[in-house]
């Protein structure tokens, strides 16, 4: 072989190696850049959700439909640790002090729905934030006695959520529409599984049974039927007139999320009530000093109910909470009737 021929071959091999190195270099940079961009985008989305949830959490009694990118958010609250995870992006955010009720999976095609409701016991304690998406389907099923309550609940929930109402006799007319999550809300009746849902994945379908002013019960789909996920002694008594916790039960993914968030709510209640108790004592003292021998306002500042409320909140005793809240509300109404006395709350 001639030397010039060897030289030409060597030349081409040299170009090939150099080309591979250069190409590899650029591919490496592109791959790295892709990973970095994805990570940054995920963090960006997480921060945006933080801001969205913070804003939504303070917008009392307002349902907001928020345009977001196509995203899947997993919500959980186990023990005392609550968080949401952006599934595809792999980033999570702890929500230690926020009270969020949401399905375990919220799939957004283009929007999510937030709804903040103030929890009053009897004063404002904290807003409950409900999060869902139009892809989650809520089906209210009522019996003869429960139509009024079903209507009330349907009308009170935001129009933007996907909701339907059926009489229990029409339950077989409910068909699966391939939603990511389906929540049945049975009013004053035991849950029954519509035939069309028997083949649907267990994790997709769940139910709550609401017995107004008595309790809510959680159910999970197991095969062809609903299985109770709380025991009778563990059911949640509904505090009379407190509809917010009924909505919380409707929106909560499962019993664990409901229990965990309610524990946070009761804990916060004990702190807020402690502040109101001390405020009432200070107001009483102030008015004794101002009014002297002729008590007007100071007569009404009886800290009755606060100890009961605080102890009830600490032990999660709904009877004590209801009793304490009622006494405080009565005292406050007395103050409102008496001209110009500063109210307790």
């Amino acid at each position: 072989m001639k030397k010039s021929q060897i030289s030409i071959q060597f030349h081409w091999i040299f170009i090939l190696i150099a080309g591979i190195i250069i190409l590899g270099f650029f591919i490496g940079i592109a791959l790295r850049q892709k990973t970095v961009s994805e990570k940054r985008l995920a963090l960006d989305i997480k921060e945006k959700f933080n801001e969205i949830f913070a804003g939504a959490g303070v917008s009392e009694s307002t349902a907001i439909e928020i345009a977001v990118p196509k995203v899947e958010i997993e919500f959980s609250c186990i023990g005392n640790v609550s968080r949401y995870i952006l599934k595809d992006e792999g980033v999570s955010q702890d929500t230690v002090h926020d009270i969020i009720f949401a399905p375990d999976l919220v799939k957004s095609k283009s929007t999510i729905i937030t709804w903040a409701m103030p929890w009053k016991m009897p004063f404002n304690v904290q807003n409950f934030l409900m999060i869902t998406s139009p892809d989650v389907r809520y089906i209210f099923v009522y019996s003869y006695g429960g139509q009024g309550i079903a209507m009330d609940l349907m009308n009170a929930t935001p129009d933007t959520i996907t909701k339907e109402m059926y009489h229990v006799n029409d339950i077989e007319n409910i068909f699966d529409k391939k939603n990511s999550r389906v929540r049945f809300v049975f009013l004053q009746i035991r849950p029954q599984m519509p035939a069309d849902f028997k083949g649907v994945d267990d994790e997709v379908v769940s139910a709550v049974e609401i017995q107004p002013n008595r309790y809510v019960q959680f159910y999970k789909k197991e095969g062809n039927s609903f299985e109770m996920k709380s025991y009778p002694t563990d059911s949640f008594d509904i505090i009379e007139g407190d509809n917010v916790i009924v909505y919380a039960a409707i929106f909560a993914g499962d019993i664990e999320m409901y229990r965990c968030n309610m524990a946070k709510a009761y804990s916060r209640l004990s702190y807020v009530a402690g502040i109101y108790k001390e405020r009432a004592q200070i107001l009483k003292q102030k008015h004794i000093e101002i009014e002297g021998e002729y008590p007007v306002c100071s007569f009404y500042y009886v800290p009755d109910g606060f100890d009961e409320l605080i102890n009830g909140a600490k032990t999660q005793n709904k009877i004590m909470i209801t009793g304490g809240a009622r006494k405080i509300r009565n005292t406050n109404e007395g103050l409102e009737r008496t001209c110009a006395c500063p109210v307790i709350y």
Partner: protein, 183 residues
């Protein structure tokens, strides 16, 4: 003689060819070196750009977190006036009670609210009246390198003020709720 001349020519030709190919090789290597130097420059510039854009993004997150924390603080039932749904009114009694409760060492309140206000300083400032200057609700004991503050104009309300005719009035002062976030 003729043969020798031809050999010398041939040798000279080969030498020239070798030199020429060596020259070509050196030229190629030089081009590659220049190419990689330019690439390196590009990478350094890109790295710097990425670094500054990352810093900007972090700054944006930090500001966003500050606004979210400030919003949540404004609407905290523990300090806000009950009848003001807009989060722009602070009840001075509630503020003072919470402040004292947080300051009790080892109390449940100290534990809960130091966790809630971690990395924050929350204070109010009275802007007009000389009734009082202001107060700090909580200041997080963290070593910080950077801080940002969000100030919200608020009404500071004293519910037990007494008017000249002896009736109770709500006395209100114009102030600012300061929420500082540390990093």
């Amino acid at each position: 003689m003729k043969g020798l001349n031809a050999l010398a020519h041939a040798l000279l030709y080969i030498k020239m060819r070798t030199k020429k190919s060596q020259l070509k090789m050196t030229e190629t290597i030089a081009i590659l070196v220049v190419f990689f130097i330019l690439l390196l420059f590009g990478l350094v510039f890109y790295g710097q750009y990425q670094k500054s854009s990352l810093a900007k993004q972090e700054e944006r997150f930090f500001e966003g977190r500050a606004v979210a924390s400030s919003l949540k603080t404004n609407f905290m039932q523990e300090i806000r006036c009950e009848d003001e749904p807009t989060g722009t009114c602070i009840d001075l009694y509630k503020f003072d009670i919470l402040k004292n409760k947080i300051e009790e060492p080892g109390s449940d309140y100290a534990r809960f609210y130091s966790n809630l206000f971690y990395g924050m300083k929350v204070s109010i400032e009275n802007l007009i009246s000389d009734y009082f200057d202001g107060a700090v609700l909580y200041e997080s004991p963290v070593n910080w390198t950077r801080k940002t503050a969000v100030q919200t104009p608020v009404i500071l309300r004293d519910v037990t003020a007494v008017a000249g005719d002896g009736t109770y009035i709500k006395k209100e002062y114009f102030g600012v709720l300061n929420v500082e976030i540390y990093r």
